[in-house]
Symmetry: C2
Subunit: 329 residues, 2 copies
């Protein structure tokens, strides 16, 4: 068992690169390599495990298929690219029926159709316990336009696309009551769906990539705090976030302030985007987003200094670690 | 649980194709899509599961890593391509230590270095029981030169690259005695290694792709009988194989005739190649293989008729099904 996944990834990260067409290997949301004269190729791979990332109580097979593909499409979106193809490998335990698997593939096909992407390969094997589904998504991006985490600079704005906190709130409900619970309110249903059927921000990412501006971008899979720290580390800058500006989902606003803070900063699995852009780029980009009806919110600024993330609230400022934080005095 | 993997794959195979750059989706060893002006891109994905494809008795962690990558490289070789990149996802149960995982990645790195390919992404998650390792390999092939299963035609030769049967014989030994057994003979060690550390036939596949000849090709993962049937089905032709000509591994020749037949026709996991070529192409291709020291053996012929595979032995001829067969009277 692994004590620290990030530490382990650093260890296995190759020291030598053989292929001259590689532009970005391990260390961003997707790898990038040279395609043709117009496009670079993107590729990413993510796994969901029954009993770890979902249970029969939190997700239907349809949702498992949908989400396993969605989280990978989100990694393509976080580079500013458009998805093209996907491959799926599933390790199937004896308690999953063929109808369950049909449903799982229906969930993928639904989302695949939404983005006009093709299932082009994979594997189907048995598992001793718990379904394991691994998806690889390929994508494309205009040559040289990938939005790396390392592109944040002093004096940039920090921004979020969409709203955060709903997925973690939905998971809380699912762990308490399960997805079969019949008396969820309309508001609660929104929270469940944020967790079960997240919508990757492909269009927003692609608008940013085509803006010709220097933009850093990350998708919010592990929580806003974690992703902001990844940008700070990769760019070696300081991000300072104003908590009051963080666009919390309207559907969590009936919960306590403490829960809202926890969900919106550390909850994760919202698959929205966080990034940085030059202040001068904001007006034009914001106008484009307004026209498209996509919510873009400035939540802070970038300054120079050793890689770090700070958060301000009630006129106090403290460090924002990747996971959890102490308190606001 | 799935009754029939092949049947299930046919069911999930997309009816609609969105991306115009796709040349081959589900249905061959790798998918093929347009790359740049010189190359097509290849991609494949295969999974190995502890307790299904290997156990701690049959494979060390190093071997698991090596083989998980090797079986995917073999799928690139079966298209005639050269591998370029790989991604790895592992679901890790609690009884695998970090040192085990380091060993697993060492096995991959060893093979990756042999082929000058780069690890560019993946995922590391927890598993409830049994290690699950999924590998995606990308590759390249000269534009339009992919060797599809569907390219067999009447009057072709059927050929095998390398020798078959050793892997299944090795697995037999490993299931009886395990890999820690100390008194294996030198001959037996060869059988174990054929199972544990198979060498994909990348060079041979690439020579065939560059031959400018119409060649069908398949790697021998599920056994010669199964792979020959896949070619017959995809090309809608009849393959007739002369059992006496099938190049059995010299290391199984001390075993009974019945065991040799079972291992060499149905054993699988040899990761050699089987294919067809026009008879007129044989002399030149054979000369090239001789110069490279790669063994190419003609084992039969292609005739027209409804898709089927026959095998002849002792002047008798019978149908050769994908899995197992009745007997030679």
């Amino acid at each position: 068992m692994l004590k620290d996944e990030f530490d382990f990834i650093n260890k296995i990260k190759p020291k030598t690169i053989y292929q001259s067409s590689l532009k970005k290997g391990i260390g961003d949301d997707s790898a990038v390599f040279e395609g043709n004269s117009r496009f670079d190729e993107l590729i990413c791979m993510d796994t969901m495990v029954e009993g770890i990332h979902f249970t029969k109580q939190t997700m239907t097979p349809f949702m498992v298929g949908y989400k396993a593909l969605a989280v990978n499409i989100s990694d393509i979106a976080a580079m500013g690219g458009l998805p093209t193809y996907y491959l799926v490998s599933i390790a199937v335990p004896t308690d999953w029926t063929e109808e369950d698997l049909n449903q799982l593939y229906s969930g993928m096909t639904k989302l695949g159709n939404d983005y006009s992407i093709d299932l082009i390969g994979g594997d189907t094997v048995s598992s001793k316990r718990g379904l394991v589904v691994t998806v690889t998504v390929c994508g494309r991006i205009e040559k040289g336009k990938s939005l790396y985490r390392s592109q944040a600079r002093e004096d940039d704005y920090v921004f979020v696309i969409g709203e955060v906190g709903a997925s973690a709130a939905g998971l809380d409900l699912l762990l308490k009551y399960g997805h079969h619970h019949s008396t969820y309110t309309e508001n609660e249903e929104k929270l469940l769906h944020a967790h079960q059927l997240p919508k990757p921000q492909v269009e927003a990412g692609h608008i940013l990539a085509k803006s010709e501006e220097r933009i850093s971008l990350n998708d919010i899979s592990d929580g806003l705090a974690s992703e902001a720290n990844e940008i700070a580390e990769a760019s070696n800058v300081v991000l300072t976030i104003d908590y009051e500006k963080v666009p919390r989902s309207p559907f969590i606003q009936t919960y306590s302030e403490e829960q809202q803070r926890k969900w919106s900063l550390f909850g994760g699995e919202d698959y929205q985007l966080v990034g940085t852009m030059p202040k001068a780029a904001y007006p034009k980009i914001n106008q484009t987003f307004n026209q498209k009806g996509i919510k873009l919110t400035i939540i802070g600024e970038v300054t120079s200094g050793e890689a770090n993330v700070y958060i301000t609230m009630n006129n106090q400022k403290e460090q924002l670690p990747k996971k959890g934080f102490n308190h606001f005095k």
